[in-house]
């Protein structure tokens, strides 16, 4: 919950600093010029991280709330910054990911003569993304959040096309246009909210807003706009090419952090602005889209030959996972409650942010080492690039829900909520989602661990510091379940204690074996298993089944291709908006 | 006195509007670029001139009057330059 108080709290200035420091970094880096951008970035990163840590420390002492009135003007006239437990967690996550990516990118984006353009853009955009995300996490006003959202988009788009190849330019343009469509829908809702209630302050709106038709239309439009920016299936046309086309460090930021920005605003909108008016049906709809994302994203991921695209599609699936918590968060009186389900969703977000960033970094190193990133061509990677493969493995384990990862804890929390609310079907989706994640992790590892036909000759050796940074991030994701979350998120010990035990181990084994089976059945590439005698027999036995599954997979891939056409995607966007509005009307 | 001012305003602005109408009809109906340009600049110069002249009696003071006059002057200047440029392009490309 956000602080209801309309006054600055002690320590509130930290919220200002969390925005101002990266902004100052952007301005300074731009003014000082190409040679000093990296230096500025490396000065700002520790300062910004200290501020995030300070927010974490100060927040529990203030009953879990921080607030700051900008210009000392109270809302609705002025703009307030507010932080609650979820803001603090996201601030810290962002700081960690940015730190790691900065270390990873230090050598790739070293300003050198003849190569100044990319470093100049990269470091400034990195800092700008940080500023935008922090503004999103602590912004208390819907229009300030809009400006921050645009800042985020304008910083993210040039990262996609940093390499200047035609296909990345195309990906960047698609991303920009679709994101603009999303933000315009968001802005429409903002206008209606102001017209209805005369304020855009989140806390004031939560007191004033009621389920009248205008507010429902506004909410539907804003939700849809944010879904487009978060790339929830079927509004994902821009994500795979954009995330796969960017340089590794940029992909890590785009996949790990940028999509979480619009998702966080969505949480604010649903849980803080209007907890009572969303309606159960609309939440089910969102979760259904999420389930669609898990199935389609995972199946298409398994069919990708390029690792980067595989990881990008896995992001698509994981975004779907984030939406499963919406129907689980309703309490008995039909209100969205900022309780355990929300905590599970946020934990899922944090876990994905760290794990997926680490994964993209690992894939980037593999790409740099092999000179390509074809799944079928990375045999022997485990011996040639042990650090990167280990990073990929650990990040993958964290994602699929291996203890004590954040995803495991999140899954446990959400499963408890499905039991509490009696929505067993989402429990099934949660389990299947874990299995699909296991599938593409196992697939990649099987290829990377199998011995090469001929000795691997690396094109380039990625610097050790980069590899270690990525590994640290993966480890961080895998240890999230051990952290003390109580001061920030409503998580009970009951969930944590269930993490270890025979039951949990059985669940894990089911997930991994299920994943392996899915990988064998759905991946069209020659399987490494097939080269041993026993493997050949097994493959022979299941050949007809595998053919059917692969046929099904190619059908899904074709469908995905249709959905990713511009006109289909934008029609889906309007359809989602109208459906959401209709569902909300029915509920109220 | 007020009445006389209003009469002048109505007369001048109406005349200005007529020139705009004529210019627009010319722009749409004339056969080639140069004659269209001719119609357009007439409308700009005379039509806007009359409108400004008509508004002058309604201006609050000398400052507002000067602002109105300078708007007309700038429009004249820009219009003259642009039509020169267009005409030259037309002559060079021989599209006549």
């Amino acid at each position: 919950m956000l602080s209801p108080a309309l006054e600055t709290s002690a320590g509130g200035f930290l919220l200002v600093l969390s925005i101002v420091v990266p902004v100052a970094g952007v301005l300074l880096a731009f003014a000082l010029g190409d040679r000093y951008v990296r230096l500025v970035a490396f000065t700002v990163v520790p300062v910004g991280s200290t501020i995030a840590a300070a927010v974490l420390l100060v927040l529990p002492q203030n009953d879990g709330h921080l607030a700051y009135l900008l210009g000392a003007w109270p809302p609705p006239l002025g703009v307030a910054l507010r932080a609650d437990g979820s803001s603090a967690v996201m601030l810290a996550t962002t700081a960690i990911v940015i730190c790691v990516v900065a270390v990873f990118a230090a050598s790739d984006f070293r300003p050198a003569s003849g190569n100044r353009r990319a470093p100049f853009a990269f470091w400034i955009l990195l800092l700008a993304i940080w500023a935008a995300l922090n503004t999103i996490f602590v912004g208390g006003d819907l229009f300030t959040l809009y400006v921050a959202l645009e800042l985020l988009t304008f910083a993210a788009v040039p990262l996609v096309s940093l390499e200047g190849r035609a296909e990345t330019l195309q990906a960047a343009l698609r991303y920009l246009l679709f994101a603009l469509l999303g933000s315009i829908l968001y802005l429409m809702g903002t206008a209606l909210f102001y017209g209805l209630y005369g304020t855009l302050d989140i806390v004031l709106l939560s007191h004033r807003a009621s389920a009248e038709p205008g507010a429902l239309i506004a909410a539907a439009l804003m939700t849809t706009g944010l879904l487009a920016k978060t790339a929830l299936f079927p509004l994902h046309l821009w994500l795979p090419p954009a995330h796969a086309g960017a340089p590794a460090a940029a992909s890590a930021i785009l996949s790990g952090l940028v999509v979480k920005g619009s998702f966080f605003i969505l949480l604010r909108l649903w849980f803080n602005v209007r907890p009572g008016m969303s309606g159960f049906a609309a939440a089910q709809f969102l979760a259904a889209l999420g389930a669609g994302a898990i199935v389609v994203g995972s199946i298409v991921a398994l069919r990708q030959e390029r690792l980067k695209l595989l990881v990008a599609y896995s992001t698509l699936a994981q975004i779907g996972y984030l939406f499963l918590m919406f129907p689980l968060a309703f309490n008995a009186s039909g209100q969205l409650e900022s309780g355990q389900a929300l905590a599970g969703g946020l934990l899922q977000t944090v876990s994905h942010a760290t794990a997926k960033a680490a994964m993209f970094l690992a894939v980037g190193s593999i790409y740099a080492g092999f000179g390509h990133d074809r799944v079928t061509g990375i045999r022997g990677a485990a011996r040639a690039l042990p650090l990167s493969v280990m990073t990929f493995a650990l990040a993958g384990f964290a994602l699929m829900g291996v203890q004590p990862g954040g995803a495991a804890l999140a899954k446990e929390l959400l499963l408890q909520e499905t039991a509490r609310t009696g929505q067993w079907w989402w429990a099934g989706v949660l389990q299947v989602g874990g299995m699909f994640t296991a599938a593409y992790v196992v697939l990649v590892l099987a290829h990377a661990l199998s011995p090469p036909d001929q000795p691997v000759a690396l094109v380039a050796k990625p610097p050790r510091s980069s590899g270690l940074a990525a590994l640290a991030l993966a480890l961080c994701s895998l240890l999230l379940g051990l952290l003390p979350w109580e001061p920030y998120l409503p998580i009970t010990y009951a969930a944590e204690s269930k993490l270890f035990g025979v039951e949990a181990l059985v669940k894990l084994l089911v997930t991994v074996f299920g994943g392996a089976a899915l990988a064998i059945l759905l991946s069209p590439w020659p399987h490494p298993l097939a080269f041993s005698a026993a493997g050949k027999t097994i493959m022979h036995l299941i050949a007809p089944l595998r053919r059917t599954c692969i046929g099904l997979g190619s059908l899904v891939e074709t469908g995905d291709g249709v959905l990713r056409q511009w006109s289909t995607a934008s029609i889906s966007l309007l359809l989602v908006a109208l459906l959401l509005a209709a569902l909300m009307f029915v509920a109220n | 006195m007020n009445f006389a001012r209003d009469i002048m305003t109505i007369a001048c602005v109406s005349t200005g509007a007529f020139f705009f109408l004529a210019g627009t009809v010319g722009l749409l109906r004339f056969p080639d670029t140069l004659t269209r340009l001719h119609a357009l600049t007439k409308a700009d110069n005379l039509g806007l001139g009359f409108v400004v002249l008509g508004l002058l009696p309604q201006a609050g003071g000398l400052r507002d009057g000067l602002k109105l006059m300078s708007i007309w002057m700038f429009a004249l200047l820009a219009g003259a330059t642009v039509s020169q440029l267009i005409a030259r392009t037309v002559r060079r490309s021989g599209a006549g």
Partner: protein, 113 residues
């Protein structure tokens, strides 16, 4: 009908037209124009909301006006960035199509550009 209703419906219609253009026009440049149309419709919404809130001797609530001014500048930035991307894409690829063929194919040139 009051001026608020007239311009309100006008704004809604501009939004509809902009959406239609954004979806159906094949050229990216036309999409950008349509986006601008859409944006101006949304800004007009703010203007209508502000006009309804005229009070205290001010003909239009200054807060939505300020939001729109910010919004117009952001929309202009978006247009400029999109156009720059488009021109660069045309320069690099010789066409400006947005259809998705390229991304799923394996890359032929591993060194990048």
């Amino acid at each position: 009908m009051s001026s608020v209703s007239v311009f309100g419906l006008c704004a809604a219609a501009a939004v509809g037209l902009g959406l239609y253009g954004l979806i159906t026009n094949p050229q990216p440049l036309r999409k950008i124009v349509a986006f601008n149309l859409l944006g101006s419709g949304v800004f007009l919404l703010f203007g209508i909301v502000g006009r309804r809130g005229a009070a205290a001797g001010v003909g239009n609530d200054p807060v939505p006006q300020a939001l729109v001014i910010t919004g117009i500048v952001v929309a202009f930035s978006a247009t400029a960035l999109a156009i720059a991307l488009l021109l660069r894409l045309f320069h690099a690829a010789g066409s400006t199509t947005l259809s998705s063929r390229a991304p799923t194919s394996p890359r032929s040139d591993p060194s990048g550009g």
